[in-house]
């Protein structure tokens, strides 16, 4: 299953197993650094996402974790083509009326195809304050995807908005309110209702709870889990909080500086991590338990994350890695390989270390 990810190298079409909903092949996103305007000269590029491949199975949650600047949000936006990928393919294989549709390349889709794909691919954003237009009512915010795709009459849409508000646990009477009247948690629910409006199959959750307080976080996480169960949604869950990711994900991919360094199912990642960066990351997360904390050993990383505009040669983690060996790690880039069944690691010296 997962071993097919790296064989398929952009042949133009793809055959995908029925249970796979999304497959990303060699996705690259670079932001050019330009000088001059009329006589443009590219002087460099920020390598936000550098050749990553993964796939998401229907109905599962894939967690994408990493620290700020690792490219996880750029990946999510490139998958939805909110950013134009520099290269690579994003195959989406939807289902309609019980049958599996032919895969479509989101990255290569033309305007019209993309417009229709938008119904299936939705996103919930991190900042509940920035993600709702302050000048629109809740009704027009939630109804917007339907308006844009010209679905139903105005009355139909209002009916559906009311239903959706109830689905996310808000009172349907609030349709004519403005976002500023709601708290952060309530706004996030409005954002979820909007994403659900077109009955999507695949949803990117871009740090949906990191801006919320702990007790509100739990409410929204519960809601997302309930919705997934009821609607059979597939999630790509972007987060920097590894404990939240452990709670919600079925599989997890760890990113560092534009690369996936380790990818496996949830419990394997937390119990038998193999990449030194994953070790450090896991050991750094505090656990709300003084007894556990007292006995934990932290792997403290040296220095800071290098700039993505000039990533180090070889393994991108070699500048901070406690295991790095000169001559190997700073020269040769380790490929993401399947070391155990379903456990992918990109490291020259992988080793299972129990950190948690």
């Amino acid at each position: 299953m997962t071993d097919t990810v790296h064989q398929d190298t952009g042949s133009g079409t793809a055959t995908m197993p029925d249970d796979v909903i999304l497959r990303v092949n060699h996705l690259v996103k670079e932001f050019p650094i330009n000088r001059g305007v009329f006589f443009k000269k590219q002087v460099g590029a920020v390598h936000a996402v550098s050749d990553i491949s993964f796939q998401v199975k229907r109905g599962e949650t894939l967690g994408l974790v990493g620290e700020s600047g690792c490219g996880k949000s750029t990946t999510a936006r490139s998958v939805l083509r909110l950013l134009e990928p520099t290269s690579g393919e994003v195959w989406f294989q939807g289902q309609s009326e019980g049958a599996t549709d032919a895969p479509v390349d989101v990255a290569g889709a033309d305007r019209e195809v993309l417009h229709n794909l938008r119904k299936e691919l939705q996103i919930v954003f991190q900042d509940p304050y920035a993600s709702l237009n302050p000048r629109m009512t809740v009704a027009s915010i939630v109804a917007e995807p339907m308006t844009v795709h010209d679905i139903g009459t105005q009355a139909d849409r209002l009916e559906r908005v009311k239903h959706l508000l109830q689905v996310v646990g808000l009172s349907p009477e609030h349709t004519n309110r403005y976002p500023h009247e709601f708290s952060g948690g309530q706004r996030q629910r409005i954002g979820v209702a909007r994403a659900l409006a077109l009955n999507p199959q695949f949803m990117v959750l871009d740090e949906p709870v990191s801006a919320l307080d702990v007790s509100i976080q739990a409410q929204v996480l519960n809601l997302m889990q309930d919705l997934q169960e009821e609607l059979g949604l597939t999630y790509l869950f972007i987060a920097h909080d590894l404990s939240v990711v452990r709670h919600i994900s079925d599989r997890v991919a760890v990113m560092y500086l534009g690369k996936i360094v380790e990818m496996t199912d949830r419990d394997t990642l937390y119990e038998r991590p193999m990449h030194p960066y994953t070790h450090a990351l896991l050991s750094a997360v505090p656990i709300p338990d003084p007894t556990v904390e007292a006995t934990r050993k932290r792997i403290i990383l040296e220095g800071d994350i290098p700039s993505p505009s000039s990533p180090p040669p070889g393994c991108r983690f070699n500048t901070r890695c406690p295991k790095a060996e000169a001559g190997t790690c700073d020269v040769e880039e380790p490929p993401l390989t399947e070391l155990e069944s379903g456990h992918w690691v990109a490291c020259h010296f992988p080793e299972i270390v129990q950190v948690v």
Binding site: R194, L223, D226
Partner: protein, 391 residues
């Protein structure tokens, strides 16, 4: 989909203190504007000045006419229609104000509406009411001598100028030039600045760069010299329609096409920041077209700086028009303007006849100040950081 019980949400709503009635953006705007005392006063003062200037022909006697007031035919069809609309609007708003228990505003608007109606009726010759002298009339005394340089007194509250004309009538009528400049410059600036700024901000690269270099060029023109030269040439241009050659309209259009640059820059900056906002991304993720994103999502959120900046530019433009008229390059005599009156008044003020200068300059300064105060008030009232955040 299951509808989650909203019972705990009701608790939540209660705890959050969400009021029974939705608070609209307009409510917030009005509340905030009203809290800004100076801006409120400025707003009423401006409304008064604008009203008087607009209705000036209605309040003044026709030159050498035995019967005061001018018939609709003489005033022109369009002017009459506008005046009727103003009168009806004032009465309607007075009614609305009373309904929403704003008694003060209701009374004020009611009076305005009734006065308009009375003078309108009078202009048809159905009613005789006291009028103000015509701005070009040289007022004679009982012996037929012209009343030159008469100090303010009860019958002539602002006195007369060196040609024996009623300064009050001229101040009132002079507001029309400023009003024209205000309306035309406001409209042109809002239109040009918004269009150029939006396009530049939304489409980066060549579109942005070309438009902004052009904007820099326009901003770089020395305003007063260019206005003087073009203002001088305007009346000579055969192909121009008549109304642009005389009066304030030509000057107003000229100023309008010269001063939109600052707004374009502001709108561009707003667009640049707003287009990166998550709600714009959300619209894009929903499949919204560029047009929808611009008009439904970005523009409404950029409206406050547009309104505020336009207001401030209007203030500047009125000053520039006055300066042109003061220098003699603006509106031609005998049509009165505050700038022109200030120039004439300055000449006689040295001989002790201060009133024409003081009242015309006073009208100009107070109007521009009022516009700026309104701009300040609007800036606060429209500030989204104040209206969005709950904390």
């Amino acid at each position: 989909m299951t509808e989650r019980g909203s019972s705990d949400e009701l608790v939540l709503d209660a705890a959050e203190g969400i009021s029974a009635e939705p608070i609209t953006q307009w409510d917030l705007f009005v509340t905030r504007l009203r809290r800004h005392r100076l801006a409120t006063i400025a707003f009423f003062y401006m409304s008064f000045i604008a009203y008087v200037a607009l209705m000036a022909p209605l309040f003044t006697c026709e030159k050498n006419d035995t019967f005061c007031g001018r018939s609709p035919v003489e005033m022109g069809f369009l002017t009459t229609v506008i005046m009727v609309i103003v009168a009806v609007a004032a009465l309607y708003l007075a009614y609305r104000s009373f309904m929403s228990k704003l008694r003060g505003a209701g009374i004020a608007l009611g009076v305005v509406g009734l006065v308009s109606v009375v003078f309108l009726i009078s202009s048809w010759g159905l009613l005789d009411v006291p009028h103000i002298n015509h701005y070009a009339d040289q007022l004679p005394d009982e012996n037929g001598r012209i009343l030159v340089n008469i100090a303010p007194r009860t019958s002539l509250p602002l006195g007369t100028d060196d040609l024996g004309r009623d300064v009050l009538a001229r101040v009132i009528h002079g507001g029309r030039a400023s009003l024209a400049v205000g309306i035309v410059v406001g409209a042109l600036v809002a239109l040009l600045g918004t269009v150029v700024g939006s396009l530049a901000g939304y489409y980066p690269g060549v579109v942005d760069q070309s438009l902004m270099r052009f904007t820099d060029l326009v901003l770089g023109l020395p305003l007063l010299p260019v206005a003087i030269v073009v203002g001088r040439v305007l009346p000579e241009l055969r192909f121009l329609p008549g109304f642009l050659k005389q009066g304030a309209w030509g000057i107003a259009v000229l100023l309008g096409v010269l001063v939109w640059g600052a707004l374009a820059r502001i709108v561009r900056a707003e667009f640049l920041s707003l287009r990166e906002k998550e709600f714009v991304e959300a619209a894009r993720a929903a499949g919204a077209s560029d047009r929808r994103i611009i008009f439904r999502h970005i523009l409404p959120n950029a409206i406050s700086p547009i309104i505020v900046q336009t207001t401030l530019v209007v203030g500047t433009a009125i000053i520039i028009e006055a300066a042109l008229s003061f220098l003699g390059f603006g509106v031609r005599p005998p049509i009165p303007t505050w700038g022109g009156m200030a120039a004439a008044g300055a000449a006689i003020a040295v001989r002790g006849f201060w009133w024409e200068l003081v009242f015309s300059a006073g009208a100009l300064i107070s109007t521009v100040l009022a516009i700026n105060f309104m701009g300040d008030g609007l800036r606060d009232a429209l500030d989204p950081t104040q209206t969005i955040e709950r904390k």
